[in-house]
């Protein structure tokens, strides 16, 4: 696989997973930035396990998922039904605390970072294919789960909570438990993604997990469309890939372009490019086409 394609695809996949991890709790109006801190905690923990204790990568990855989920669950006990603003504050605080702890932990390299994470599979080519396979599998799994969630009773309950918590509660939705569930799943996804992020670079630095990463994910979710997971899938490669194709003089303005795109979308199309109505129309169109095709085939036979 060409190197540049590998980095483009793998980093795009990480951005999609991180954005999905933020999308999920946003279904109940929680902007859960703790996901970025969880990426760092799980990434560094897995790096330490592999480098220091020589734990196989597979186990380290599982620990990363579990750690992310565990921290997400513990925090959700306190903010499972908190208002949006409180969740944002907890997320920012958690990122600060995580950075400070990592910077002062010599076991994981402190401010210097962690160098030389090993190739999985023994050589760089195998490493890349394994990382890509895991990322692809994870994308399919998480995408499938999100799709099922959106079409389930839980998804409809989340939509009700998003619109009006009191109304949702009066309809019998357990707001706290739903918030806890979404936050825990979100942090689990982020934990595993953090491990993969570190192993893509084969090094870890505390500045890999900054507020800029929050900004990237937020832009992907809000410009792509926060009401369905598909906006993320469309926008992540565009947002990351298009600037790479621009001439250098234009590339220098990419942050301005991101900002302008975000402002324009928020003003002109607040739900983002891919809206739920669009997805429903597309699904019904595809379903009608399929029915027509099936009936045509039956008539022929």
């Amino acid at each position: 696989m060409p190197l540049e394609l590998y980095y483009f695809l793998s980093i795009t996949a990480v951005n999609i997973l991180l954005s999905w991890a933020m999308y999920l709790p946003y279904r109940v109006a929680h902007l859960h930035f703790i996901t970025v801190a969880n990426m760092a905690i799980s990434g560094y923990s897995a790096g330490w396990l592999v480098m220091t204790l020589h734990v196989p990568f597979g186990w380290a990855l599982l620990v990363g998922f579990a750690l992310g989920g565990g921290i997400g669950y513990l925090v959700s006990l306190f903010i499972g039904d908190a208002p949006t603003f409180a969740v944002v504050i907890v997320g920012f605080t958690f990122i600060f605390i995580t950075r400070t702890v990592i910077e002062n932990l010599n076991a994981v390299g402190g401010t210097m970072g962690m160098f030389g994470l090993p190739d999985i599979g023994g050589n760089p080519d195998a490493h890349r294919w394994i990382i890509m396979a895991i990322l692809a599998g994870l994308l399919l799994l998480v995408g499938f789960l999100l799709h099922r969630f959106d079409h389930s009773r839980l998804g409809r309950a989340a939509s009700a909570v998003f619109v009006d918590k009191d109304l949702a509660a009066s309809l019998g939705v357990d707001i706290r438990r739903l918030g806890m569930l979404l936050q825990t799943v979100s942090c689990t996804i982020a934990g595993g993604t953090g491990v993969l992020y570190g192993f893509i670079y084969r090094s870890l630095h505390v500045d890999f997990f900054t507020f800029e990463l929050v900004g990237i994910a937020m832009t992907i979710v809000f410009v792509g469309g926060y009401a369905t997971p598909w906006g993320t899938v469309v926008l992540a490669p565009i947002l990351y890939g298009v600037p790479l194709l621009l001439p250098p003089a234009v590339q220098e303005w990419r942050i301005v372009l991101y900002g302008a795109a975000l402002v324009l979308v928020l003003v002109l199309k607040p739900e983002g490019f891919i809206t739920r109505r669009f997805v429903v129309s597309l699904e019904s169109f595809l379903s009608v086409s399929r029915k027509k095709r099936n009936s045509f085939t039956r008539e022929e036979t």
Binding site: E4, P124, S203, L244, P248, I255
Partner: protein, 384 residues
């Protein structure tokens, strides 16, 4: 039929031979993975300026092996994601590169250069980072402890009345390691090292930090933080009655334009160390200083501004002295030739002084302590 077959064979052989000996390029393109946007864009701008200045001079003098050289700016915006993707693109057919800048992008992108076997000079980071990627890069500095401990000891020995020193330290990349080296130098000079005061990266108010430092009753203070933060801390100290300005020492990474624009005359009398000396007179350095000051409203060149200037000249030497042709068909071998040459350069003519490299580490580079007067640096002493 036989004639046609013969013709095809001849054609195939000719094509194969042509494919093997692709012509060398007419120009040396050297990509520079730099941070031209984002939090350190101002530093990236003068690093780029230095590299461009070297290319302009080299081209005016006939180029490298008779061919012009061009620095290709590649902006990473200090973003590891972009840095790694750009490096992955470059390693396909680049002979040698400059950068990346700074440490987070180095850590994300340099493993790709190492895997591809492409030399890339990271001329602004410490040995502790660079050596992880040897032999595909070199260090611009000796080990942090070897370089900074004697320097800070020399500073401390100027003031027999200085018994206790506190450091303001920002937790970023190599900076805590630099603070440790300062502490070692202070201990060597018989000065008591007080508990450091951590400077948050996004600090807005500096008064609590200064109050905390002054509560330890220090005789001297060392600043290991961003230029703007250092300037604000000095201003805050002065507003609280600090008088002994020469007992303040700013570290090299603080020597950037925003230190002087933020600090203004409040910095007068404070001392600062770095690796370039404006008072040295060599023809190239004089030209560089004049050109820099002309294009930067009279500002002196900052501490790191010559690093990539020298790096471009070092690449020129490597290409010319190893007979590298730039032919794409010899890419792998010629990359190795350049990397090997860079590791052990002898008698390199830098813009200010000559130095040697031993196994990727410079052996005899000086450092300087200056006093700041009205935004200008006045040499106090050279330390080797």
């Amino acid at each position: 039929m036989k004639k046609l077959l013969g013709l095809l064979v001849v054609l195939a052989v000719a094509l194969a031979v042509m494919g093997c000996s692709q012509p060398a390029p007419k120009e040396w393109d050297i990509p520079f993975l730099n941070s031209l946007t984002g939090p350190i864009a101002s530093i990236g701008a003068y690093l780029e300026w230095g590299a461009d200045q070297a290319a302009t001079e080299i081209n005016a003098a006939g180029g490298i092996s008779g061919k012009p050289v061009k620095i290709i700016p590649v902006d990473t915006g200090m973003d590891p994601q972009k840095g790694s993707t750009e490096m992955a693109r470059l390693v396909k057919n680049t002979l040698v590169a400059l950068g990346p800048v700074p440490e987070p992008v180095i850590m994300a992108a340099m493993p790709i250069a190492v895997e591809a076997g492409m030399p890339s000079i990271t001329a602004t980071t410490s040995l502790e980072y660079a050596q992880k990627f040897f032999p595909w890069t070199i260090s611009w500095f000796p080990s942090t402890k070897d370089r900074l401990a004697p320097l800070v000891a020399a500073w401390a020995k100027q003031f027999p009345d200085m018994k206790k020193v506190v450091q303001f330290v920002e937790n970023y990349g190599p900076w805590p390691g630099m603070a440790d080296a300062h502490s070692a130098g202070l201990t060597d000079a018989g000065v008591q090292v007080l508990a450091p005061v951590e400077v948050p990266s996004n600090a807005v108010t500096f008064a609590p930090l200064v109050v905390k430092a002054l509560s330890e009753k220090p005789d001297g203070i060392i600043f290991v933080c961003k230029p703007g933060s250092a300037a604000k801390l000095v201003k805050e100290l002065k507003s609280r009655g600090w008088k002994k300005m020469d007992h303040l020492l700013l570290f090299s990474s603080a020597d950037a334009p925003d230190l002087y624009t933020t600090g203004g005359n409040d910095l007068n009398g404070a001392e600062i160390y770095n690796y370039i000396n404006p008072d040295i007179n060599t023809p190239r350095w004089d030209t560089f200083k004049k050109a820099y000051m002309d294009s930067h409203n009279g500002e002196q060149p900052p501490s790191l501004s010559t690093n990539y200037y020298d790096a471009v000249y070092m690449i020129k030497d490597a290409i010319e002295k190893t007979g590298v042709t730039g032919s794409p068909s010899k890419l792998k071998a010629e990359r190795k030739l350049i990397a090997d040459y860079l590791q052990n350069v002898k008698g390199f003519h830098g813009i200010m002084f000559d130095w040697d490299m031993k196994d990727g580490i410079p052996t005899n580079k000086p450092a300087y302590i200056f006093k700041i007067e009205n935004g200008q640096k006045v040499l106090v002493q050279e330390v080797r």
